[in-house]
Symmetry: C2
């Protein structure tokens, strides 16, 4: 563990580097509040901190920069979750008081809100339906060979899938299949566990099987909304880095599994290479689950450079996840 003086020095380095994005020299640290030794002493201490892996030197004769390990120590021991400032707090309150409409739009807007609050990119995953149960299943015919199945869940989420088949099916059969599906699925959860029981009617069973297939496949659960990607251009100098970050963020499944993985490991902050997604090695991710009826169902997160403002990001993520969960719960 680090002694008090090393701790103070590390804190000063991280704070200043986050603010200025420039390597921090011993002189600057000496001038920081809470550090009352000369720059020479600090030089000695910083050399030790470097050896122990908390700091790094871009090149000889440059100041020090925090390593991932340095940020980790800072986040774990030198920063407590702050409150959001008043103007931002009311922004959040107003947002959730006024948001209406389809859930997708609300999540999309939430990602924009979070990005506005932090000026980093924001990630919002859609509610995982694990605990939600099916409230209603409806089969709506579009033509003699096509239909849409609409499933409404207890959390208000609406899933829809298109169906097609080759031979004409009578309206009666479609309607029967709808009734049969409703009977078999209402009260269960998505994706469906097993097939609904056979009905005895061939056509009906074929329709049911197709519905089952469509609902089993890529579920809307994996939807993710990423807002504020433009901020990445501000966070990084090198275009090449920005490009690969943007490209990575466009792969929904990567983002989803990344966020899920962090939460599974019980973390709320993943710093730099910790999350293991190579193109995002220069980024940190601050995440928080949101709860509906006591169950964690989704995630909000902030993605910024490793030298991001962690306290603010933590505060924003906390408030937004709490409000979002509450907003989705009271139904």
């Amino acid at each position: 563990m680090l002694d008090d003086r090393k701790t103070a020095i590390l804190r000063a380095v991280v704070r200043e580097y986050i603010e200025t994005a420039q390597p921090v020299g011993s002189g600057h640290v000496a001038r920081a509040p809470g550090v009352n030794v000369s720059s020479a002493t600090i030089r000695n201490e910083m050399a030790v901190l470097e050896q122990e892996g908390y700091l790094a030197q871009p090149h000889t004769s440059a100041g020090r920069v925090p390593t991932d390990k340095g940020y980790r120590f800072y986040v774990d021991h030198l920063t407590e979750r702050g409150r959001l400032d008043d103007s931002r707090a009311t922004e959040v309150r107003q947002f959730f008081a006024s948001t209406h409409g389809a859930i997708e739009q609300m999540l999309r807007d939430t990602s924009r809100l979070l990005s506005d609050l932090t000026s980093y990119a924001a990630i919002v995953t859609s509610p995982h339906a694990t605990r939600a149960t099916v409230r209603s299943v409806q089969l709506v015919p579009l033509s003699s060979r096509q239909a849409v199945v609409v499933v409404v869940q207890s959390n208000g989420a609406v899933e829809n899938r298109q169906l097609e088949w080759d031979d004409d099916a009578s309206d009666v059969a479609v309607s029967a299949a709808g009734t049969h599906l409703a009977a078999g699925l209402v009260g269960t959860s998505l994706p469906p566990e097993g097939m609904v029981a056979p009905s005895g009617d061939d056509t009906v069973d074929r329709l049911c099987a197709q519905v089952h297939r469509r609902l089993s496949g890529s579920s809307g659960d994996d939807d993710v909304y990423v807002g504020g990607v433009a901020t990445m251009t501000r966070a990084f100098e090198a275009v090449e880095v920005v490009r690969s970050i943007l490209h990575t963020l466009e792969q929904q499944y990567i983002v989803v599994s990344l966020v899920r993985d962090i939460l599974d490991r019980g973390l709320s902050v993943a710093i730099g290479a910790e999350h293991g997604v190579e193109p995002l090695a220069a980024c940190s991710l601050v995440v928080a689950p949101y709860f509906v009826e006591g169950e964690p169902v989704g995630t909000v997160g902030v993605l910024g450079p490793t030298r991001m403002d962690y306290p603010r990001a933590l505060a924003a993520v906390d408030v937004v996840s709490e409000r979002l969960g509450r907003r989705l719960s009271d139904r």
Copy 2:
């Protein structure tokens, strides 16, 4: 109008500039096929082309660069819609043969496809429901004070809105409201023209009014899917330009009205400042409507730098819009 030689020179300049992104000098043009005069002659011609506004010079002693007007002439007179090369064509075919699931996911994937095809950013707007009619309306209660209204349209699009009210409403009333709404809305189109007729029951009418309000407001029509934004970092040198482009693309309503405006003016290509959105002045946009049952209902488009590969973008946009329309029509 330009004579043959000027035309050939302009073509050569545009082609080479699109390929190399470097100002084109008279020497290069002289070596281009179809131009059989000396570089001195070309210099004279290029001076005229500059005076007439087709070319510009970044600075004295540099080559020429096409202006928006130059690109416009190139697009209008020097390029015919090509075919997509075979591998890309099969990529498109396979994509539309295999795409399933919710329509939103399909549109999102389409934007990615189009971006892959062209290596520019791609825009897909969701089908405008102007001609679609309501097939089914369902009111699904979630609690005693909340419900979801689900509307399925003849084109397979599914709209959902959440409702909340303060005083408990009986299941009977909700169910009655659902039936009443279905009776009043099925066969009409969204957004609803007028209120559904009063039913005589106060609670039912209040629910109907709320549904009406929610459906009238921001309709899902305005959804837009933008894919491949990462390509913008490759297209432009200046980070500042990339930032403002990305930021603009995040404003859905700007993108939607931009695309709509271009089509309203009967264009398929908007070059540089032509579209009037200042942050995108360095970009061109190639768009095509897609048709469902003979009606233009949505748009696909490609957004790239003004020095984009227009023939390829045009071909890609044509093929994708055609296939997408067909895919959405056969239902």
